[in-house]
Amino acid sequence: MALNVLVVDDSALMRNIIIKVLNLSDIDIAEIFQAAHGQDALEVLNNNWVDLMLLDINMPVMSGLELLDIVRANPETKDLPIIMVSSESQEKRISAIEQKGAGFVHKPFTPELLRDEIQKATGVIHG
C-alpha cells in the first residue's frame, strides 16, 4: 500500500530532511504533501486523502498540539496515524502526546528510527 504522507514543520529545511529520509527509505510513498503550520495542514487534510501525518510541535499560527486536538476531534480524521517529530524532551509533554494516540520521534533522529515508527503507526510492513 503506497502512503500519502503529510509533513508539517515550520522549518523548510527540516521538511526537506524528513522528505529525503522518506524517499531513501523502503517505505512505499504515493505522494508527499507539505505544510508550514497547523492551519496549512488543515487545508491539505480538507482537500486530500492522507494516510499519515508527521507533525512538528512548536510552529507559528497553529501548533502541532492544537492541530492534533482538532484532528482527533473530527470523526473523519480521528483515526489518522500521526507521528510527532520534535526535539521536545520533557516526559510530561511527551506522555500527554502519546495519550492522544500519536507516536513520537525525537529529534535528532536516525532514518531507521523514523522508518520504524512509521511502520508501527501505519501497520504497513516495508522492505
Binding site: 515550520d10 523548510a12 529545511l13 530532511i17 512548536n58 535528532p108
Partner: protein, 151 residues
Amino acid sequence: MDSSINENIKQIALKAFESMCFMFEMDPDFDGDVAVDTEFTDTAIIRFDGDVNGGMLISGSPELRHAAAVNMLGSDEITDQHMQDACFELANIIGGNIVPLLNQHDGISFIQSPRKATPVEVTGAAFKGFNEEKVLLSLDEGTCEIRVFYI
C-alpha cells in the same frame, strides 16, 4: 558554571551535530595545529520560560554554518537562508534537549521558536543575573559556541 550541566550540554550538542550534520568532535588528543575560528558573525537564539527561564545562543563559524547546511540538505547549492535555517534547526534541537536538564521543580517549560539574536542578547546583557553555561565545540568542519543562560 555547573560542570555536570556543562558536560551534558556538550554531549547533547555533539549528538545533534553527529546525527543531523554528520559532523564529529575533533580528537581531543590531537596535538597538531588546528585553526580555531571564533569569529562568529551570526547567532541564533531560543528562549524558554516556565519552570526554568532563560535562553540558549548558538554561534557557528562560517565554515561550520556552510557545512551544516550542505550536510543537512544534501546539496552543494547553499544560500545564506539555508545556513540560517540550519542554525535555527540545530538551535531548536539542542535547546529542546537541554531544557529538561534545567527544569528545577519537575515542572514544564515552553520553548519559543528560534530566531536571530539581537546584539543585547549576543553580549549576554539581556541575561544579567542568570546562571551561564558556555561550551565551545571543535568539530571536523568548524567551530561552534553554545551559551545557555538560565534562572
